[in-house]
Symmetry: C2
Subunit: 381 residues, 2 copies
DNA sequence: GGGTGTAGGTTCGGAACCTGAACATGGGAG
DNA sequence: CTCCCATGTTCAGGTTCCGAACCTACACCC
């Protein structure tokens, strides 16, 4: 705001770095075309950013240079907490994943236990790479619940009961001795899908993550929309049936009590054994089990009700469905579409696509990596 | 995009005109403070815009000049079609309303009849001002239904059955021989409330218009959010009760069948006579009629369900409730709040304010005037 | 192998833009 | 009446971007 000229330059620099981050590798000419800037301007900006250490030019044979993000000789860590799983990935700024691993965790474990498990897993992956903690440039952390944007504290409607009221970024940061960027897992999944996955290139998208719970994230004009208190996208606790089951959030008949994995597995436990997980449920359905197909279909129809509301409010052109249940593909998507076409107003339903996520269960952790990458770039300016 | 420098200048000009439009009158120093530009830049931009005929400088005594929008010696016309009313206002660019009048119209009238009535009313108001049609600079038109942003055709879920499939901007434009800007009445109401009313200064707001039908508009980052096909904000056709009454949109149990004025008046017709309108219903309730109070309270509770969904999705900080039913004040707002506090997730409910609109029934027509003003400014650049 | 065409990247001059400083002017406090 | 301050203008200076010209490397054709 102080100087409109330098803010213009900054904005153009941001455009360039963002374009490189999204594409991975570009030539300067491509950069000029995608950003709309002139080749001359791109030339100077790329040189500046190279000198600043943000970009790297791998002189890929003569004139045709490839512009990438600077490797920075450092590692990025992404951590994704789910209801029953913990996934950690270590990657480079260049988007290359070096190591990745998921382990089961105990649902009712305290936050401290979960954070310890994450710390150990990070160390284990570092060991497997022969790397040190000091090489870590940044850490991104995904949690299944809303984060208060002011305090950084995990909101009440989380899947992890032992975590309510703590500040995961601070807690994890103390353990690793690093700054940690924390966000809702749905927001991170949306970020990943919008950057590299099924929503690539879209400016306005809604992303649903259907796993143990139901989360969502709204992307408007290319950015995660967070609302007044960071609670935007809490689709899982929309009331579908005012007299329905009690939800862990304290209300009745939330979408999550009708389409969340915790509830769905409960439905088939009697017939398919007590150890059924969401993933197993999907496998059985894909293998032809009619009961499991029905359960997933019903979940899709309930999701359809909520997505129809979403359509009438925001009229998105694309809804990406991620999370473990989305692996069911058309078994889940078709019932969603059926209900949306029936309930949403026609002009909104007509333009809507509903597609499964392209990144699967890794969306969260990839989004965590992407968020560190972005915040790293921002700080380098 | 072609020239980033000139686009910067353009953006700054737009900032200046927008600031003047919102405030009405400003000195250059105030302008510099609100826009963050330097006084020197403001000086040159104001001079340019004065030469362009967009701004006027009323030299209010020596150095302390007052900058306003140029009177342009012309008139703006705002037209607002409702279910049973038609309201027309004629104003100056300086935001002053010169003449305004509302007349009842027949619900089932054809579009041609409605447009004719509007044309006659415009002429009548012009006559009362001693003005000619040639003095009209622009016309803004509000209609109670979604407008397809590509074709300009009124969508199917309109309150005016005779209007489906026509292009109101073209039709009205032919009659008046002028370019007409058309938009959803809820969008225009939101624009008016955000510019001069209860949502003044807010960047993110939701506006509900509850009259014969239920419409809504979402303002994100200061602009009306229209979605992929211009259908964003169709809150009236969110499904509240899947097995509820048939709605004119073809579905069952839409919010409108539970909170729309058409339905509410039906409820009290048996006890209070067949001629009860929404306005009369509100008057009776305010006078203490328990039946009418109950009807409005129930409508508020149903609205609360939809607004709770809206909260969980978008987490707005402010919801403005307009339209004839909003005149009931706390009789409507309190039940809304009660339900929202119960159904929305706590962190979203905590930051939400629900307030009645400040512009009353005039919001639509004022918004229509504002939209012409804006589009006029844009074209003058 | 050599010539030519094409596309990428750089450099340079020009034009537009914003800002800080200096300056003129009018109003208000004492 | 004078001083002080806020306002608005002008000017020089610095920054930014763009168009055009230029150079380089690769591909292709003969």
């Amino acid at each position: 705001m102080a100087n409109s000229l330098s803010s213009l330059r900054e904005s153009n620099r941001r455009m360039v770095t963002e374009a490189v981050r999204r594409a991975g590798t570009l030539t300067q000419a491509q950069l000029a075309r995608t950003t709309g800037l002139s080749p001359a301007t791109v030339s100077t900006i790329v040189r500046e950013l190279r000198d600043l250490g943000v970009l790297a030019i791998t002189s890929g044979g003569g004139r045709r240079n490839a512009v990438t993000l600077a490797p920075e000789s450092g590692l990025l860590v992404g951590i994704d907490f789910g209801h029953s799983h913990l996934r950690v990935a270590i990657g480079e700024v260049t988007r290359q994943i070096l190591a990745e691993r998921a382990i089961p965790i105990d649902v009712d474990a305290s936050a401290a236990e979960g954070l310890l498990a994450a710390e150990l897993l990070v160390d284990e992956l570092l060991r497997s790479l022969g790397a040190q903690r000091t090489e870590i440039l940044g850490v991104g952390l995904g949690v299944p619940g809303p984060i208060d944007p002011l305090t950084g504290i995990l909101g009440s409607s989380t899947i992890l009961p032992g975590w309510v009221g703590i500040n995961p970024a601070l807690a994890m940061g103390e353990r690793l001795g690093l700054a940690v960027h924390v966000d809702n897992d749905a927001n991170l999944g949306a970020l990943a899908e919008a950057t590299w996955g099924a929503a690539r290139g879209r400016r306005d998208v809604a992303y649903l993550k259907i796993a143990s719970g139901v989360g969502a994230s709204i992307i408007i004009d290319g950015r995660v929309y967070r609302g007044a208190s960071g609670a935007a996208g809490e689709l899982g606790h929309i009331t579908i049936d005012e007299n329905g089951r009690l939800c862990r959030c304290g209300n009745r008949g939330c979408l999550e009590t009708l389409a969340g994995g915790l509830y769905l597995t409960e439905l088939v436990r009697a017939t398919h054994g007590p150890g059924v997980t969401v993933t197993r449920l999907v496998e059985l359905a894909l293998a032809g089990d009619v009961g499991c197909r029905r359960v997933i279909g019903d979940a899709g129809r309930h999701l359809g009700v909520a997505i129809a509301s979403l359509c009438n409010i925001l009229n998105p052109g694309l809804v990406v469905v991620g999370g473990a249940l989305a692996e069911a593909g058309p078994l889940l998507i078709d019932p969603i579409l059926e209900v949306v076409r029936r309930l949403a107003i026609p002009s909104a339903a007509a333009v809507l696509s509903v597609v499964p996520g392209a990144l699967g269960e890794r969306a969260g952790v990839l989004g965590a990596l992407a968020s560190v990458q972005i915040s790293n770039m921002e700080s380098a300016l």
